[in-house]
């Protein structure tokens, strides 16, 4: 294995009885990378992270962490990592200080080192003044920060973050994202699972999209966007919207799909210039006044929808499965690949 590889996954598979949750996945994460692991709910993200961190034993396949097999050399592998699970699993009846010190004890850190590290982290996270308070009185964002601090106690080389900003207020989200970037700049490899596409797009060097337990694609966010030229679109809004506009716009030449987004229409196409012309003609012939016209490149969200058939806007709650790639409120011809 190359010394540049932090995580190497080979044929990793997990069955729950007859249910195949993770299906022979393979990927590598380079040292110093922020690697995003995207997928809708139930796609296999958390199962994968649980296998990589030693909580769950894979049915098949192997995973190495900094060269250590998580099954055969689990202690060495676990010494390399810090884990922030999807739920802030802090000890609510212990103080913030005791949570960090206990974590230091689990890593067998000498007393002086664990106490200085706990102080350093609590100051870094703005919680030092409240270190004596029991964590059960903390807000969700503060618990999340404590949880991340606990994951950093052992000066890990890889940080696993499972949905780190899910359900948090905007301020906490910004603090955590900023922190992740800083930690990465200091050389920490970050493995981040999320269903927040924008988060992944802005933060990750590379992303893998997993769906139904299989890796659908792995690449940099920008390359993924460029791969899907058909996901270019023209965004238009009219001063007043005719009743059949969605259907009629979807039938314009070169439009593969039309989606209504609020008071705007988004027309997916491989040829934005042709669609701009036909949209202009449509507006003229129907006496409509165009108030917004934008050409939009494919977003990572579009790539995600294309690959998984699920709109991430609904993924925070129950995922909404699209029938044949056409969502409610959309119309248009089947897209040519």
């Amino acid at each position: 294995m190359s010394s540049e590889i932090a995580i190497e996954v080979s044929n990793l598979t997990k069955y729950y009885d007859d249910l195949l949750a993770v299906d022979h996945i393979n990927f590598e994460v380079k040292k110093g990378e922020i690697f995003g692991f995207l997928g809708p709910n139930g796609a296999g993200k958390t199962t994968t992270i649980r296998m990589l961190t030693g909580i769950s034993i894979p049915t098949e396949g192997t995973a190495t962490i900094m060269g250590y097999d998580i099954q055969r050399r689990s202690v060495s592998a676990k010494e390399q990592m810090g884990i922030v699970p999807d739920v802030s699993n802090v000890y609510k009846d212990l103080s913030a200080w005791d949570n960090l010190v206990f974590t230091g004890k689990l890593y067998d850190m000498p007393k002086a080192f664990r106490e200085s590290r706990a102080e350093e982290l609590l100051r870094m996270f703005g919680l030092y003044e409240r270190r004596r308070e029991k964590v059960k009185g903390f807000s969700r964002g503060m618990k999340r920060r404590i949880c991340i601090a606990m994951a950093l106690m052992n000066r890990s080389r890889i940080l696993f973050l499972d949905e780190p900003t899910s359900g948090l207020d905007v301020q906490s989200v910004l603090i955590i994202r900023d922190l992740i970037r800083k930690l990465n700049q200091q050389g920490l490899t970050i493995f981040l699972t999320t269903h927040n596409i924008e988060e992944a797009s802005h933060m990750c060097d590379r992303v893998a999209i997993i769906n139904h337990g299989k890796i659908a694609t792995i690449d940099t966010p920008e390359k993924l966007k460029r791969t899907f030229e058909s996901l270019q679109s023209v965004e238009v809004a009219f001063e007043s919207t005719p009743q059949n506009a969605l259907k009629e716009l979807g039938e314009l030449p070169q439009v593969s799909e039309a989606v209504k987004e609020g008071d705007k229409f988004r027309l997916f196409t491989r040829s934005p210039s042709s669609v701009l012309a036909s949209t202009w003609n449509y507006a003229q012939s129907n006496n409509l006044k165009l108030i917004t016209v934008n050409t939009v490149g494919p977003s990572l969200e579009d790539v995600f929808v294309k690959l998984t058939g699920i709109r991430p806007a609904t993924a925070e709650g129950e995922p909404e499965r699209l029938d044949h790639g056409i969502a409610q409120g959309t119309t248009g011809r089947e897209e040519q690949q």
Partner: protein, 253 residues
Amino acid sequence: MKDMHSSHLGKEIRVAWAIAVKDMRTYYTQPPSIMFGILFPFTLFLAFTIGRNLPLAEQIPILISQTLFFASSSIGPVVIPLERADQTFDRFLTSPVSLLSILMGKTLGGITYGVLISVIPVLVGIIVFGSQIANLAALIACFALSSLAFSALGILFASIPGQTVGQVMMPLNFVRIPLLFISGVFTPIGQLPAWMQAVSFLSPLTHTVELASYASGGDTFFGPILNIIVLGAYAAAFVFVSIRFNIMNQRKE
């Protein structure tokens, strides 16, 4: 001198102890620990003693056995389901320490609880009833091996996947309460029919009752050496099965 923090065994022991201390601080005063570990054995003892015209002083070894049995075996079934529900148990699984050390840490929490609670009837016996400790070594063996075996029994049942105390306590009590009736708690082993004596030999509680009785100057039916061997064997078996169950859980996770 070799750096203490580089010793693998030393590390495992330190981590196990850290887990035990954390459990003591966090869970000893939780209502289920008090109910199943303290109120349960004392209430059962009083329920079966009051009105039977039994001299209380002679019943002290029985009370010691019951408190060791219930208190030691109650901590694991309280702590582990609650930690599963909070996902804090995952912290142990992701820490760089063996599963054996994690479970030994949990077991130590039960041992300490059982010993602390069971010292109370010993002190009451000595101070209130003027009881004598006839064999201190037997009493120490009784405390050490019984608390270990019963705490490990609790950990074994806590390996049943569940996120509430009730999910673990119910099957545990299904085993614990019948054991009271075959272990010489209410009827001395010598007065039981031969087939019941064979059955009572299989109960670990029998050997705790016998050692406690022997330590206070009474007789033992099976003999203190056999009592010690059987309790030691049960402790090892319970720990071994707990590890197997936890590995099975990780495969199902």
